[in-house]
Symmetry: C2
Subunit: 342 residues, 2 copies
Amino acid sequence: MTLQNDLFLRAVKGETTERTPVWLMRQAGRILPEYRAVRAKLKDFKELVSSPAFAAEVSIQPVDLLGVDAAIIFSDILVIPDAMGISYEMKEAKGPYFPSPIRHEADLAKIRIADPMADLGYVLEAIRLTKKELNGRVPLIGFAGAPFTIFAYVVEGSGSKTFSVARRMMYENPALSHQILQKITDSTILYLKAQIEAGADLVQLFDSWAGILTPAHYEIFSLPYIQQICEAVQTAPKTVFAKGAFFARKSLAKLDCQVLGLDWNMDIAESREMIGKEKTLQGNLDPCALYGSFADIKTETEKMLRAFGKTRHIANLGHGVYPDTDPDKVRCFIDTVKNFRG
Amino acid sequence: MTLQNDLFLRAVKGETTERTPVWLMRQAGRILPEYRAVRAKLKDFKELVSSPAFAAEVSIQPVDLLGVDAAIIFSDILVIPDAMGISYEMKEAKGPYFPSPIRHEADLAKIRIADPMADLGYVLEAIRLTKKELNGRVPLIGFAGAPFTIFAYVVEGSGSKTFSVARRMMYENPALSHQILQKITDSTILYLKAQIEAGADLVQLFDSWAGILTPAHYEIFSLPYIQQICEAVQTAPKTVFAKGAFFARKSLAKLDCQVLGLDWNMDIAESREMIGKEKTLQGNLDPCALYGSFADIKTETEKMLRAFGKTRHIANLGHGVYPDTDPDKVRCFIDTVKNFRG
């Protein structure tokens, strides 16, 4: 099917576009009252993630209601550990909790390589439904967590400010850490390939906890697994968003991917210089900037657009949009990008 | 009184020392069973902070038990908001909680400039007692939170992953944000001067949440207040530790202070190049490295020492020592620094 709006995919490839494409991380979510209405019908977040029709509905909402240039499938990075046999609960206001975290060699036996068809069919079905409903209006983004970030959750057993339990294993038992990371990587490769087969036009890897590693550990425990995935997944373009990994920008530039995400801490000109001209950059307005006045949002967004320049940029925030953001402020951000002619 | 061990203060001034001095952030704390024994006698953390004799006792423990080259007064950065009339509770495992956070112009009236003698006499008394008990063995470090970090807590009302409530105010009402920051700054200047008068040989500012700001906001909402403090406090040398502010290293280099702390994400050679030769650098071993084997700790510590070089370095971790660290591993880190002749 020919896409009616292919700005996003052309920017991914580095082609010149008539304007910069725009979408937001977490655009399908709590910012929209229409999302909250769907969510209210269901028991919890996990039920929404695992209900393809509802997941498709909320994935499409931002296309209809905000006018973004790409949809992203509504899901969670933690579906992978779930599919590997490491189940989790999502506690409201507390985040994910793993009753049986992976801590010892013996726990390895509890982990299987995820079979996307058998274990993650609900995501694939949500992608197919979303793709059908989108009907070529905009491309659809699939995603997964980067292996280190998934490792951090399943070893720690929950979110954490320091992830010191997970990071302890990397110092105490690097061999076991690598075995776990490899199983996550193998699962993720199969999963992303299946997402693309189901209709995802691009896949994004979220290394949400990249910023807690030393530069040396990032090179050992995160980048090689991201690169394995990038090399194995060749049927669609790839975006890597390593939040906080300011120290790894030169290494990230060498990955076999088309797009790198920048968080709001990263200076745009400096990042472009470190990364070079071969990657499209995605980001990076401070999500808190959307708490400002409409005039300030316009000013800040235009400042960002000028700093990135006209090509090889996909406008986004530097993090997922915060749930208490006024949708009209989000629209102001999007419309500013759409109306900008630099 | 002449100090018997002045390695730390000589390194602060940039003098050549026979070896690199070493201490650890949070060395007075839960890593030591002797600390936990004192803590168990008291109702809670806040009671320990506000009991000069006990605070002095735990401040001295790491000098006796670990052999560090400097003591740091056992206290909390949140004594300042408390002294300004913004009271907080310390919830075990949850962190600080402010029942009445500062959110609106009307809340400004609730804030007073702290009077160190009247409001923070217990810290000053703890410093005097510690100084007396140390009896010149090693210097004593005083400290305070940097104004932005205190602002983040009192506006947010608690710890947070995003501090989006506090950061929202900076976009919605920058004028109010600056008023709050100025009151914190004025209080902190008086407080640090009083600490020095009571016996602190150096004062350290902790900008623990620096890393959540954009580079532009850091220049507007954090650095000018740190610089005000640095300029106002001239009776002792100063250390600034802006955790996560990798983007501000060149600006931090211009502060009127002697020492800059590096966290474990910051590459040592790159930081030295950005900061120049006029500052002593403090840090920056990954606190999780102390979970490794004794051999690995020795290797990692020596690698760090070589990267910093022989002068203008104070060995430390890149963050406070994590509470579940084995004291023998901490001793291994300290002894490696002491025995290194690289």
